[in-house]
């Protein structure tokens, strides 16, 4: 059997290392600048908007709620629910705390912020 030289092995090793580094970089950079907001009604995704591409503000009108979409941020501008908690929450720009209108079953959330899987808070 022909032996592979040490040099060849070293080249294979280096090539693999570089290839994997490139792969990690590519995989990591895809959609990095995207700020995807999702709007759910009764648990169903009804609308998706990339906030990073919004240049002019506009509203999305749902039967009981109005959502204000602005460059880089999103908020519930009005709702016909009694508690108005969702309106009082103001704008969100990141993924940790979604805006939730419980009475009308509307949720606005931004795709998960890196590193946090869930939130425990006094909602319950």
């Amino acid at each position: 059997m022909r032996r592979i030289s040490n040099k060849a092995l070293l080249i294979i090793f280096a090539a693999l290392l570089i290839a994997s580094a490139v792969w990690i970089l590519i995989a990591g950079s895809i959609k990095q600048d995207e700020l995807l907001a999702e709007i759910y009604v009764e648990g169903r995704l009804v609308h998706t908007v990339d906030l990073s591409e919004v240049t002019e503000s506009y509203t999305i009108n749902l039967p009981h709620n109005t959502i204000l979409v602005e460059p880089g941020q999103i908020s519930m501008s009005s709702a016909d629910c009694p508690d108005q908690l969702c309106v009082r929450q103001g704008v969100i720009k990141s993924g940790i705390y979604p805006i939730i209108c419980l009475p009308n079953k509307v949720e606005v959330r931004i795709a998960r912020e890196s590193g946090i899987d869930a939130v425990t808070g006094g909602r319950s």
Binding site: W23, D117, A118, V119, T120, G121, S124
Partner: protein, 343 residues
């Protein structure tokens, strides 16, 4: 020698590359509204999709069973039958037993028979208002967990009483789902039922789940992060559900002793323990007990860890959370709490 080392490295590198490309487990998630809150499920593994579907079905089933609002629920049946015994399904019996234990241990700070007070205050309805002292006293007469009688699989409330499982049902639901996942061989899952978080196993990449703890003062901020596996984390706080009357804020956690929103000096209580149902009941109990009572409860009974945020800016963390809790920012002064045998 050098050559062998190099070969080992190549093989190891290849193994890492191959595993990161191929072995991605099936992932499924779902968002549902049930039990008066928003629920989020995330499951990894074989048959993740089917498992999530089964879990969602289970949640709707429990919602119908446990609701205090739905006239046909099993809980409503218990309330309508006050004065006499009524047979209850296992799902409710388990919660009643757990609730009664926490009630006894907390000296009645935790009490599922607060429904007359909850109804009177009208939290979450358009009718939310501050009742008169007379109204509160009248409702309080029917609040006493000691008048809930459990016998075998039946329960009897004293005349005029009514119960709500609101402070335990979501924890029961998350515990039920965690057991369902484990039964189906799922080794990685997360359930978030309106602030009740329960995780099964670790994340698919083997790292622990990272659970943010919401800042009770600035609800858009994070007070810290818990890194957990096979654990439930439940928080009770007055800052999410409340109403305002004449400039004063009235939050929804009612103290059965006073018939009014708790003024225990705590802004939020987070409980970390393996059982989601226990965590849920304890978060409310310790919130109502206040700082001293909460720490005493933890020292006496244990079996869980706690994180208390006080209204004078302190964050009290029981020693078992050292290593899994990291504070974010410096809004609170962090203090560790030790058990009887501790420093």
């Amino acid at each position: 020698m050098k050559r062998r080392l190099l070969l080992v490295h190549i093989v190891a590198l290849l193994a890492v590359i191959l595993s990161s490309c191929s072995a991605k487990p099936e992932r499924a998630e779902s968002t549902v509204f049930a039990m008066d809150t928003l629920m989020y499920l995330e499951v990894y593994g074989d048959e993740a999709q089917a498992t999530v579907a089964q879990a969602v079905e289970r949640l709707y089933f429990l919602d119908g069973l446990l609701s205090a609002v739905n006239e046909d629920s099993e809980v409503s049946k218990i309330n309508k039958s006050a004065g006499g015994f009524v047979d209850v399904p296992d799902e409710i019996l388990e919660q009643l037993n757990a609730a009664q234990e926490v009630s006894r241990r907390s000296g009645g700070a935790f009490d599922i028979s607060v429904l007359p007070l909850v109804t009177l205050w009208g939290f979450g309805t358009e009718n939310a208002h501050v009742p008169s002292d007379e109204e509160i006293e009248a409702a309080r007469r029917y609040v006493d967990y000691r008048n809930i009688e459990l016998s075998g699989s039946s329960v009897k409330l004293a005349e005029g009483m009514s119960i709500t499982l609101g402070a335990i049902a979501k924890g029961y639901a998350s515990q039920t789902l965690a057991e369902l996942f484990e039964g189906r061989g799922i080794s990685s899952a997360l359930v978030s039922l309106g602030g009740n978080v329960q995780v099964v196993g670790s994340k698919p990449d083997g790292s622990k789940w990272r659970i943010a703890l919401q800042d009770p003062v600035n609800a858009g901020e994070t007070a810290g992060v818990l890194e957990l596996s096979d654990m439930a984390a439940v928080t009770s706080g007055g800052y999410e559900r409340y109403f305002e009357q004449e400039g004063k804020i009235y939050h929804h956690i009612l103290d059965p002793k006073t018939g009014r929103p708790s003024e225990s000096g705590l802004l939020s209580v987070t409980i970390v323990c393996e059982n989601g149902m226990t965590a849920d009941a304890l978060s409310t109990a310790l919130f109502l007990l206040g700082e001293d009572g909460a720490i005493e409860y933890w020292r006496n009974y244990g079996g869980f860890e706690a994180l208390l945020i006080t209204d004078d800016g302190r964050m009290l963390v029981t020693e078992g959370l050292r290593g899994s809790f990291t504070q974010s920012g410096d809004a609170y002064t962090l203090e560790y709490v030790y058990g009887n045998g501790g420093a």
